[in-house]
Symmetry: C2
Subunit: 345 residues, 2 copies
């Protein structure tokens, strides 16, 4: 089955030198894939040429005269840049010309534009950013990773419902284990919002297993961790920072002496295998969940390997028929809990 995605080719810290080779390598590995590269036509064609490629039916170019800056105000980008590569790529999704859209651009602008053009699913106030991150059990999904700095208990509950539906749709996991991210040192735990969200989850049909603390994201047996976008973004980036720091420490220790350098040669295959497991590029590609359409956000700093992974996430989600399946599951979970039964005489 052919899958068509639009690519915000101008996006990210690196722009075309990341997005174009990523697009080409995905087209090469997946013969069912078609891409529409959106951005400055001349620049895209030049970059394609640099990689000995040119536009064709599987790799089309759609010109856009503007680019949303990485630090631009989302509201300004939304109102003022209607011919940006980001906006056009989302418009292509809205019109049905493509089935998913991938961008490494400004998160706030992407969220605002996608929400404006595509609208949220019924029952959902705000979209959230969700991604799979490595854990001792393989992977854990977490949301919100930075779309909503402040969230109500109801929003956290909606995030849990959406995340749960995503895992069910993508992995066939019928009752994913859902936890709320919390701290263990307050009177008695957490703030009022978390407590209210816990009450909503407890009363729901979701498989809610309680609180996890920061270390529990990576170490405990849970499928979905729910938190607000501020905490989630800090946790995600903290994890990346620690992984990078440890990689640097490893390098320092394995070059500390001649003996250690010799040992490093022997240890290289194991160290490389480790490096691959914790390399954020191989986990790049977060989903903007809660929208009428599949939008994938790549890390702004992603290189071509990282951006290619984000494209693969989009392809996978199209193949699994998101967000239609999420929408169906949402209808179930957001239904008030059989009030007819409760009131029956």
């Amino acid at each position: 089955v052919p899958v068509t995605l639009s690519i915000d080719a101008m996006s990210g810290d690196h722009g075309l030198p990341s997005t174009v080779p990523a697009a080409l390598s995905c087209l090469k590995e997946n013969p069912d894939l078609q891409l529409v590269l959106v951005g400055d036509q001349a620049q895209i064609e030049a970059e394609l040429k640099r990689h000995k490629a040119r536009p064709d039916t599987r790799c089309r170019v759609r010109h856009a005269s503007e680019v949303v800056g990485m630090d631009e105000l989302p509201s300004k980008a939304l109102r003022g840049k209607k011919d940006s590569s980001m906006r056009i790529a989302i418009d292509l999704l809205k019109s049905g010309e493509v089935q998913a859209m991938v961008s490494a651009g400004n998160t706030g602008a992407l969220m605002a534009t996608a929400k404006f053009v595509l609208k949220t699913l019924p029952g959902i106030d705000r979209p959230a950013i969700v991604s799979a991150i490595p854990s001792v059990n393989g992977h854990v999904h977490m949301l919100d990773l930075g779309a909503n700095a402040e969230c109500s208990a109801e929003q956290l509950f909606q995030f849990a419902v959406m995340g749960s539906a995503l895992i069910t749709a993508m992995r066939g996991e019928a009752n994913p284990k859902v936890a709320l991210l919390n701290i263990g040192s307050e009177e008695i735990k957490g703030n009022d919002t978390i407590k209210a969200a816990a009450a909503l989850l407890q009363a729901s049909s979701l498989n809610y297993i309680g609180f996890v603390e920061g270390d529990g994201i990576f170490l405990s047996d849970v499928d979905l961790v729910v938190c607000d976008g501020f905490v989630g973004n800090v946790a995600l980036k903290t994890g990346e920072g620690v992984a990078k720091m440890i990689r640097q420490f490893l390098k320092e220790e394995f070059t500390a002496s001649l003996m250690h350098k010799l040992a490093a040669v022997a240890a290289m295959p194991a160290l490389k295998a480790l490096g691959k497991r914790i390399d954020p590029r191989h986990h790049n590609g977060a989903t903007l969940i809660g929208l009428n359409g599949t939008v994938v956000k790549s890390h702004g700093s992603a290189d071509d390997i990282g951006f290619a992974n984000a494209i693969r996430v989009g392809v996978h989600e199209v193949q699994q028929n998101l967000p239609q399946r999420i929408s169906a599951l949402l209808g179930e979970a957001l239904k008030p809990r059989s009030p007819s039964t409760a009131r029956a005489v």
Copy 2:
């Protein structure tokens, strides 16, 4: 110069089997140290005996008939357990019998009791938890790590002032670089509280360098990271969780095949050196800052090696004359910025 500390010997997940050997090993390595072990006298003496030791002038025992549970409500512990090991150890600090107090107990109860007995420093609303954590530059201090789940901009500012004073007092660093923990993906960045705190810091005499994101805690050139206790606790524990996960991945990779196992033997010295650098036990011991007295909080799960490190943190702070020096520096920093000059005609 002799230094005397009280030890909440019943505290933590392990209690006496952690605290007593930790106390003995610190007494052995530091001839100037004296300790008062607070808790059930018979049980403490039995544990001392198990380590071929007994009470003497350098290692006194002070009986306390109660223990604060790790999950007990702070308010209940404060009102209902006036003969707990935690309370008596803090009372000894208040009366001047000891110069610092160390506990691995319930954070909320420790904070509430210490605040009630010792009171906060002038100009400080709420104490915070601060600790040094490993970074690529060696160490970075961070607060609040879990005492205050919700904070106002003014409190974040006070945390910055206290943390800055701590670093100056402990390290002789005259103008420590202060950053606010934030996310990079909102309209334009962070929430209202963070923005207001940033404005306060910008207008202050502190060496405020701006925002860092989660990865910046570990990777950037900053001395102090300020955040609320919810976010700080999540970041701290996330970091610990990732470090533990990577340690497990390393173990798995180095036992994945016979070749990898052989490589592990050669790599052992470097791996051990790495393990020591990221071992949270060697960074255990956080300070409850903002109180009239030095209270050190050990991780609840600390073993004897970890708890001994918390005792060393307390000793070091007594030797550096905290909190008197913080108090003096606070007076400076919390003074309104020369309004007389501004208003002079």
